[in-house]
Subunit: 308 residues, 5 copies
């Protein structure tokens, strides 16, 4: 399909990238029900790895089968489906060319006790290419003592991905000895997490919805001095979007824990109002029965469509 | 031999792999007495390295000679023989082309005290290729603080193995500071271990038979909420098979410590009933006299043949 | 433009470098209002990464947008604009060829608690080349227990940069367990920091303005024995310039925290009198409104022009 | 010379190796007074590095000169001379083609206090090739917490050595936090050490003569249960030979500390009776005057000749 | 110039090296006032890096300029000039081909507190080649817990340097947790340090003048048993020379701290009498005024000339 003005505008922010990467960015933006709007809803399924299979899929046992998620992303009209290596391998050939794929190239589990959080590298750019993916996904934990390792691994992946025409999606989840538990979703920390990912060269950045907590004293002073509004989630979203290159990077928000449909939609409405480019919604999708999941994802997309 | 429907079905789950890897997967599935059934019985002999030679072979001194195990796997009609580098090198030329070989590429010993369990890399994909193997085997210890090192080493081996048409077999044995001793074979941990191996790109996954213990409180809640059945070994096996991509990955179980024939067969019967794709049986095979070992392996295969 | 005598003299100190590197050095020295004088004023913007976006840009929200800084450097007639990967990527195509770019290839943030200071590698020489930069920038923390890692990473970057015709700019900021807080800007430590960067092969070296504190007892003795003058900032600047290969390396000073215009200009005057080759001025530029910033940068350049 | 039946038999155990490696194995087996017998006596001189030059050579100062050892190995008719990089470099050209050389590629010294024993890598396969060596030699310390590092370094060396037609000799010396001092030469530990080296792909394995001590409780039980004979050194040697792939790997024993001629010969007689493939004898050779050393080495060879 | 008998004899000890390396060794031995004698006096200037610029150059401020040292080495007729990367880069083109250069490829500073001493890698073999050097120089600290890292880095540098025809000069300075302060220059430790460097493949070895202290009890026994003479510096030098492959490696001694002319010459006389191949003299040269430095270096060379 031809590019809409909005997609062309977004592309203009990535004018330093190869046509290969620009092409894959267009594939993401021009797929599914939100095609051409500049908004994205992505289905991510890495919970089998991150939390364990039974915790993730017992509520909806059909979801043990990797094919289920490809089909769900297709049926719901998501822009893309994101998952770890094994899941993508399981369906990449069967669903070849039907839905844009994001290969998650690092992952963690809950079995090991690791002092300073750091996910393991579990796939490579070569894997993404051989499996027909449009993007790699990588999680950083700003705040961790293993920060340098993670940023440097990402650096290596990013340069290779860009050289080979892939898009880079970064999950930026602050965590570690440098932060309080509450601080992990503090509004100042979220703005910082978005900036770090952008500076590391990410094309699409995923953060958690920010709370009204402010973690760093230096930031508290600045918030007060400049009277920054952070009361509503929409306000805070606006600040995080602005912090992400003045709005010139695609920034999306995670859906978080499974919850009621009303809560999900209310949160999405605030994010949309605040300027979010979209949502990435896992447990709230695949832990519902297929029909309910498709309906919820459709409602979410409708909200984003309205603000686009 | 032509592919049976079952083998074709199994192959369909690996449709994203190169024909080279698919070919070697067929070689494993179409060899020995279980050829074509989609079930596997594999003879693994790494105990000389893992426990020491005298502990392993004094009960049956013929087994000191590496040739013995090639011949035993052949005589018993196993699908494959798996061993560390030295053992494979000792007989690879003499037995060339007679039995599918799995080169174990990492190993541990009991001489060193290592805080966070992690096997040493002891062979490479290049070794597997020069020795005519169909697969590499790698052990991960989910739960260890060295998790990232292991997963990343496996990532490097896996991408190379797949590029070069080999099959990847992963021994997934939870262990380390993140787990209690009992938790190493807990049913929730076993399901998790199977998923992790699958997500890391393994084609064939080996876990220990799960006990009825549940290790993680978050899992305990889920087991209760959804009334998951874990009383019998067959029940638990069913859950582990399901956790392994809804049954779409070849999952086999280890035989564990040497024990009486009746106990071995009873356990195998439960595993088979629960949907296991087969067994990997070391000490219970090579620590018996050759005749007894062949008979026991034959009985095990018969059980799997019946459920296939 | 033709080379002035001064630029030719400076180039003669870099006669061992490839013509490619010499060419990029000329591009830096012959751009902007100070072109041909042998003096440099550089606009560096890495505070979004190093301190957080809100702390950095709330005083002047236009500065959230990476394009803003390219334009500011252009408007003010700076010799170059220096920034991390993401910022450079954001504008490199739009502003291609309009202002010399320095890609900052390592960065730190304030979220993580790291015992021994060490920035993360966040970009590469290949990035600098694909983005049309004339130089890479790298920060070392002499005094840190991670010294060897940093020097060795810089060694690898430097050899590659020189092979490919780039200029190497080193931020030499003493810090770590080997130094007191006060010692980080002590005059003896500053002279040492400048020398270390020069010995590591840097073409342009950036240090902080030295205070009159002397950190190391061995140095205190030498200062006394030889009656070295360190009372005024100009005196101390002179000593640092001399320590930097007897003045045969381009040495510039950072502007430090945001402060009043008078203070900025007074400090620059002292540095210029002491023989500084220029200044690198971030927060004092982009945290002012555009007009004020252009004016201040112009005043700074005028001071350097007078002493050239 | 044509291959004897015994050498052909030994070669048959290495049938998976390249002709290049087989050729160099023949060069070792067919050189010197024991040529064709399948037995080996090797002169190793790494004590200058491992213990210091004065401790090693003051008893016989001629031995400071590296040429001395090449000549001694030649005069005594040893199968090979083994030494670190510098020693081999010193004489490799002068004695080119006169005696098979084994390049020791890792070494330790007594100056550093290292918690977990691990030798430093000091030479490479490329060095062995450029210096005309037939083999590389590498020391592992099973029982050390640095086990993984050592096994993995050996893995890398071994695959390269085999690719390029060299023989791999492994010194397997248990040591480290996992073992008591007495346990380092315990008979169970020696059998284990021999197996580990064999499994790591070594062609020739060197261990210390085993004592009657049993280190691991699990082994003690097995020794008792199966009534294994370990009273005489010959008995224990037999067990170690058997543990080394049922006798299908060339296994030789070190001579240990300097001692009287009678003691040396008595020990060698026991080793020979127990099936040892030979001895590697350093201090007992080069710390004697040349004539005495040649006589002792000749007597040792005569013992092995008698049992061959 | 044609080779003298002595130079030919020295070359014969390096007969295993490539003609490229032999050529550069000749360039060192055939340059300056000692050309052809087989003796060497080298000017090393790494004190700016190792001790700080002001401590090093305030006594003679002309020495801040890197060109100064090239000219001093030329004027005094030294065999070579050795310095870190930046210093060599500063003058390599201007003085191209006028004096043999040794690029020091690792360095330390006094700003960082590092538990186990280990210099940082600061230059590469490629740097030495592009700058026209005849040799690389590398410092090891035997006795440090980082021994393995250093020996292995040196191994990598050495194999590359030899492949590309460079000479390898090793500064062997015992230091670290394995040694007392006094032990760093103990005579037994010096002999050991010289041997280690030789075994690591060094062509030219630099140690400190040994004191009469004996550090290791095992060595004390050997010194007593064999009645080794270590009273005079000449005696001790003789022992160190002998320990260095029986005198078949070029071994030179450092000049140490700045001191009076008489002391310098007296020490050199003892070293020369004991068989030293020469001296490497930094602070005693460049901290004197140029005229005095040239005179002192000339006197030192005269002493070596007399014993050649």
């Amino acid at each position: 399909m031809a590019l809409t003005d909005r997609v062309q505008q977004i592309l203009s922010w990535y004018s330093s990238e190869n046509p290969g990467t620009q092409t894959n960015l267009v594939r993401l933006l021009n797929h599914g029900k939100l095609a051409g709007t500049g908004k994205l809803v992505i289905l991510p399924v890495d919970q089998g790895f991150e939390h364990g299979p039974v915790r993730s899929f017992a509520p909806n046992p059909d979801a043990y089968d990797p094919d289920y998620h490809f089909q769900l992303a297709l049926d719901a009209g998501c822009n893309a489906y994101a998952a770890p290596l094994g899941s993508i391998e399981a369906g990449a050939s069967k669903f070849a060319g039907q839905v844009p794929l994001i290969l998650k190239v690092n992952n963690s589990d809950t079995l090991a006790k690791i002092d300073q959080p750091c996910s393991a590298l579990t796939a490579s750019v070569e894997d993404a290419l051989r499996l027909g993916c449009v993007a790699i996904g990588y999680t950083i934990y700003p705040g961790s003592g293993q920060r340098n390792q993670m940023y440097q691994d990402l650096r290596d992946l990013t340069i290779e991905a860009k050289r080979k025409g892939l898009v880079v999606v970064v999950w930026s989840y602050p965590r570690g000895a440098g932060l309080s538990k509450q601080g992990e979703t503090a509004v100042d920390v979220c703005t910082y997490a978005a900036t770090i990912a952008a500076q590391l060269g990410a094309h699409i950045i995923k953060v958690k919805p920010p709370t009204a907590h402010v973690e760093q004293p230096e930031h508290q002073k600045v918030f007060e001095k400049h009277g920054l509004k952070i009361e509503s989630l929409a306000d805070r979203t606006r600040l995080v979007v602005q912090s992400c290159f003045g709005g010139k990077r695609v920034l999306i928000f995670s859906g978080g824990e499974a919850k009621g449909e009303t809560d999900v939609l209310k949160e999405v409405q605030e994010l949309a109002t605040g300027g979010s480019f979209g949502s990435i919604m896992g447990r709230n999708a695949f832990q519902r029965k297929r029909g309910d999941a498709v309906k919820l994802l459709t409602d979410v997309m409708d909200i984003y469509k309205k603000v686009s």
